[in-house]
């Protein structure tokens, strides 16, 4: 027989079971936290009509997209969860309650250049809050408190949620007479972390921004101090621009509420260099960094947009959202040995029957399961040693061997695989449960 090499595509994560369990643990923690804040689940298709998905044409995204025809139909795989959300909300507007709080955790597709740690299929974990016509600024402060909860849940302490407001930058550019190329300027400034201050100055110069104006921008970006001090400095600049002043006002509100939502000052800060390259953000923007591992990049980003679904509906739907790129995050945490959760098994108990009649082992397994204990029976015909090795490789914490003796005496040995300790208990699910708990 001609055999095909069993390959997986480059840029597509495929984990071994032990890694997959950890990945799923992290995913579940994110999902549970989203639910704890009352977000509703969505699960939109991975394939959409290209016409719908690319309604807002252009940009880098289009080159990366997986697009093809099936029959006569022009199809694309979703490249994020925001565009499908826009379509969904426009389509189902009458059936939704606002503010509409939804989460979606799902795979998205981007045909990026293959590169270590870059994925073409990856999970995004998104939350968005959408208002009908308007959405109070306080929601911009609720999201950082959710980000905070998630990264604490994942075992991190030393991380910073960086906050800015695009109106401040836009207003500044406007006041400098640079409104027309503000998007380009933002894109350049957004890279300051990556390419450094000098390179930013260089690129701005190329864009024909005057030297003094660049200096003003750089001075502005260098504003330092606590959140309170930064806001005071922003106010003290007395920039006579409405957009600027609105941005400062919003930022002040958001900071005030973030504190009220219980995010410690050590875990968030105003960072005036953050712009988020995507041009649909219009107000608050977020990025989140693990402080000892800035090189990972932002682990949770997002912001406020004025009008989510304008390409599909005339309803005005402002919103605010954040996204965690889970696949890349997991890859990086795994690489850096930063996954803070213990390696868990699925089965908590392995029952190894060494008797002809399986009635008793099966009954025990059924009873343990009814108590919520994940229980596997080793049903194959192998040597005892091989069966223990199986439990060991799968990291199953408890093993119970059932032989004729155990059935006769109505007692079993429960072996703790981590300590090696064995404990004799009554051959009864409740007793065993008490011991392993």
């Amino acid at each position: 027989m001609n055999r095909t090499e069993p390959r997986t595509l480059a840029g597509f994560m495929e984990l071994l079971p032990n890694e997959q369990i950890q990945f799923n643990q992290i995913k579940a923690k994110i999902e549970n936290t989203y639910q704890k804040y009352g977000f509703l689940p969505l699960d939109t298709p991975i394939i959409e009509l290209s016409e719908v998905l690319l309604a807002k044409a252009g940009g880098e995204t289009e080159n990366q997209i997986y697009r093809f025809t099936k029959g006569e139909t022009d199809l694309s795989l979703r490249f994020d969860l925001t565009v499908p959300l826009s379509k969904y909300v426009a389509k189902n507007y009458g059936n939704l309650s606002f503010p509409f709080r939804r989460y979606q955790i799902g795979k998205v597709y981007r045909g990026e250049k293959a590169q270590k740690g870059r994925f073409r299929e990856f999970y995004q974990c998104d939350i968005d809050i959408l208002g009908d016509g308007k959405l109070d600024i306080i929601h911009d402060a609720e999201l950082p408190s959710i980000i905070y909860t998630i990264f604490k849940e994942l075992g991190f302490n030393d991380f910073t949620i960086c906050i800015n407001n695009r109106k401040i930058l836009n207003g500044l550019f406007e006041s400098l007479g640079q409104k027309d190329c503000s998007v380009e300027i933002l894109r350049i400034i957004d890279k300051i972390e990556k390419i450094g201050k000098e390179k930013v100055v260089e690129e701005l110069t190329k864009l024909d921004v005057q030297k003094e104006k660049i200096e003003t921008m750089m001075d502005f970006l260098a504003i330092d101090g606590s959140s309170k001090q930064k806001i005071e400095k922003l106010e003290s600049l007395k920039i006579d621009n409405e957009v600027y002043n609105q941005g400062v006002e919003e930022l002040k509100e958001v900071v005030k509420y973030i504190q009220l939502f219980g995010v410690p000052d050590t875990n968030f800060k105003i960072d005036l260099t953050i712009a988020r390259g995507l041009d649909y953000y219009t107000g608050t923007v977020y990025e989140t960094f693990l402080n000892d591992y800035r090189e990972i990049g932002s682990v949770c980003s997002g912001g406020r947009y004025e009008n989510l679904a304008e390409y599909y509906t005339n309803k005005k739907l402002p919103g605010v959202g954040v996204s965690i790129g889970l696949t890349r995050l997991f890859y990086k945490l795994n690489e850096l040995n930063l996954i803070k959760m213990p390696q868990e098994s699925i089965a908590q108990v392995l029952i190894i029957p060494m008797v002809e009649n399986l009635e008793q082992p099966i009954k025990l397994a059924t009873d343990l399961r009814s108590f919520g204990v994940r229980t596997e029976i080793y049903l194959g015909d192998k040597k005892l040693k091989a069966k223990f090795k199986y439990a060991d490789k799968l990291k199953i914490p408890f093993v119970i061997v059932i032989g004729e003796d155990e059935v006769a005496t109505n007692q079993v040995n429960v072996k703790n695989m981590q300590t090696g300790e064995e404990k004799k208990v009554l051959f009864e699910a409740g007793e065993i449960l008490n011991y392993i708990k």
Copy 2:
């Protein structure tokens, strides 16, 4: 602005939040049950190299497949979870422990003719147990006990797991000199439920099967009685064929163990008409029916195969597995109003702050969440009535309004939205938890 109609593709399920919650409940029950039996999670890519996915060429599947090129690469979307499993096991053989028990719940893609209740993107929920070289027949009996547990968990009592063994049919055909066209005969017989006995006879006649042989087949398929009686009749036929006898022996074993695994006689039976059209099954085959809704078709099917990954490796990997087509199942249950779970909300408590200072409401929400209560704060600026309507539409069971009075008296009213009852309790998360539990 030119607007695009926000359409979703035909054959792609997209649910409203309330439906999505129910869908996810069912999915979680299936996943939890799989885990309770110790199955390990996998999450393979949705896109694979066409060369890999279609290694075993041909059949109906290939016309239905979503296949396209990206750059130079010939890609396909997975059409089931079995082929990706084969690839995975062949690729990771050295890193897996056998018997390898895995579950996978994920979307698969088939470009079927668009039709009500037919889906082009749908969830499959698969479990398989793979042996290294061999796999004891008792595993064929464990799977029905898992199917049984799942449908009980989903609130059903009146369902039947139908079991057969393809060796019995193959052996029968062999003994009738029809070995060469046994696959075709199986495909025809498999349709007996759908097209009726006469149509089957007609199609077999067209296949040039002699009249007496067709009669023998029909007599055989009409064998009736309890499982025990059926096996006795199968044995009493004294068909002198090794494959046949092996099949009867296996079926006998499986039935014995199914009973031992605690599946009541009312929930399973031998059904000699079941063949499963797919030609890779080689032994035990399963189909499951909701007895009052046979028209839904089988809600959980599968079987035993001799060699899973032969297209990728020379390792012999026999296995047994079943699959639930969740999307179609959900669609049908929903249509027939058969979803037995109460409609749940995500948020369990909605806090409505009617005070200037949000400190107290936020603290209460944080405390409730730390007790595991999913809690939402209504942060928008609306009339109280609109906020209650929001809770009502989202079916949030408890609402707590916090005004100046509540803060001053340190007492809050918890409103049970279902009964309309209000209860005054101490403004303290523990107290509130006690009440709503």
